[in-house]
C-alpha cells in the first residue's frame, strides 16, 4: 500500500486545497463588497463585516496552505472556516433583502 513517494504528495495536495479554498473565499468577498457598495451606511456596514470575515478566514487558512513537511489535519480550523462561510452567506441574504426595501 505504502510507497516512498506518496506520503510527500498528500500534504502538498492538502495545502493546495486550502489555497484554492482561500481563493474561493476571496472571490465571494469581492462579490459581496461589490453588491454592498451602493453608498449607504447599511451597505458599508455589511461590506465591512464581509471584509472582517475574509480577514479571519485568511488568518485561519494561510498557515494550512503554506510550509513544508507533514501537514496538520483536522482541528478547530474546519468548523471555524465553515462558520465563516455561513456568515458570508447570511450577509449575502441581508444584502439581497436590503435591495427589496
Amino acid at each position: 500500500m505504502s510507497t516512498g513517494r506518496d506520503p510527500g504528495l498528500q500534504p502538498e495536495r492538502t495545502r493546495l486545497a486550502w489555497r484554492r479554498t482561500l481563493l474561493a473565499v476571496t472571490v465571494v468577498t469581492v462579490l459581496a463588497v461589490r453588491l454592498a457598495s451602493t453608498g449607504d451606511p447599511t451597505g458599508a456596514l455589511i461590506a465591512g463585516g464581509a471584509v472582517l470575515v475574509w480577514g479571519a478566514l485568511l488568518v485561519l487558512c494561510w498557515p494550512r496552505g503554506t510550509g513544508t513537511g507533514p501537514a496538520r489535519t483536522g482541528g478547530r480550523t474546519l468548523p471555524l472556516v465553515t462558520a465563516g462561510t455561513v456568515v458570508l452567506a447570511l450577509l449575502g441574504v441581508l444584502l439581497v433583502l436590503r435591495g427589496l426595501w
Binding site: 506518496d6 506520503p7 498528500q10 500534504p11 495536495r13 492538502t14 486545497a17 486550502w18 484554492r20 479554498t21 474561493a24 473565499v25 472571490v27 465571494v28 462579490l31 459581496a32 461589490r34 453588491l35 507533514p70 501537514a71 489535519t73 483536522g74 482541528g75 478547530r76 474546519l78 468548523p79 471555524l80 472556516v81 465553515t82 462561510t85 455561513v86 458570508l88 452567506a89 447570511l90 449575502g92 441574504v93 444584502l95 439581497v96 433583502l97 435591495g99 427589496l100
Partner: protein
C-alpha cells in the same frame, strides 16, 4: 443539535475515539471537506452574482428568490461538509464503514430542478418579451 455543534469544535473529543489512522486518510478526508466547502462557496458566489448581474426577470422578485435560494443552499452545503467530515473521521478512527449520505443526490436534484425552472423562465421571456 447543540451537542453535535459542540463536537465539531472539540478536536480533543474526536481524537479520543478509536485509533489514530494513517495520516493520509485524515488528509484525504480533509481535502473532501475542502472540496465540499468550495462547492458551498461557489453557490454563495453564484447567489451574490445573481443578485447583481441578472437582468430583471419576468416574475417579480424572481431574481431575489434565486439569489437567496443559492445563498442558503451554499450555507447548507458548508454545514453539511463539516458534519460529514466529523462523522467520516470518527468512522475511520473506529474502523467502521464510512457514513452513507443522500446529500449529493438531493443537491444534484435541487440544482437540476433549479436549472430547469430557469430554462422555463428564460423561454418565457424569449416568447413573451418580443
Amino acid at each position: 443539535m447543540w451537542e453535535v455543534i459542540r463536537r465539531w469544535f472539540d478536536p480533543a473529543e474526536l481524537g479520543s475515539v478509536g485509533e489514530t489512522p494513517d495520516y493520509r486518510f485524515s488528509l484525504a478526508n480533509e481535502r473532501t471537506f475542502l472540496a465540499w466547502l468550495r462547492t458551498g462557496l461557489a453557490l454563495v458566489g453564484g447567489g451574490l452574482a445573481a443578485a447583481q448581474f441578472l437582468p430583471p426577470l419576468p416574475m417579480s422578485h424572481l431574481r431575489e428568490v434565486i439569489a437567496v435560494a443559492l445563498l442558503l443552499l451554499g450555507a447548507a452545503v458548508a454545514i453539511r461538509a463539516v458534519d460529514h467530515w466529523a462523522r467520516t473521521e470518527r468512522a475511520i478512527r473506529l474502523g467502521q464503514e464510512l457514513p452513507a449520505s443522500r446529500f449529493p443526490a438531493i443537491l444534484a436534484l435541487a440544482v437540476g430542478v433549479g436549472a430547469l425552472l430557469l430554462v422555463v423562465a428564460v423561454l418565457m421571456r424569449a416568447i413573451g418579451g418580443r
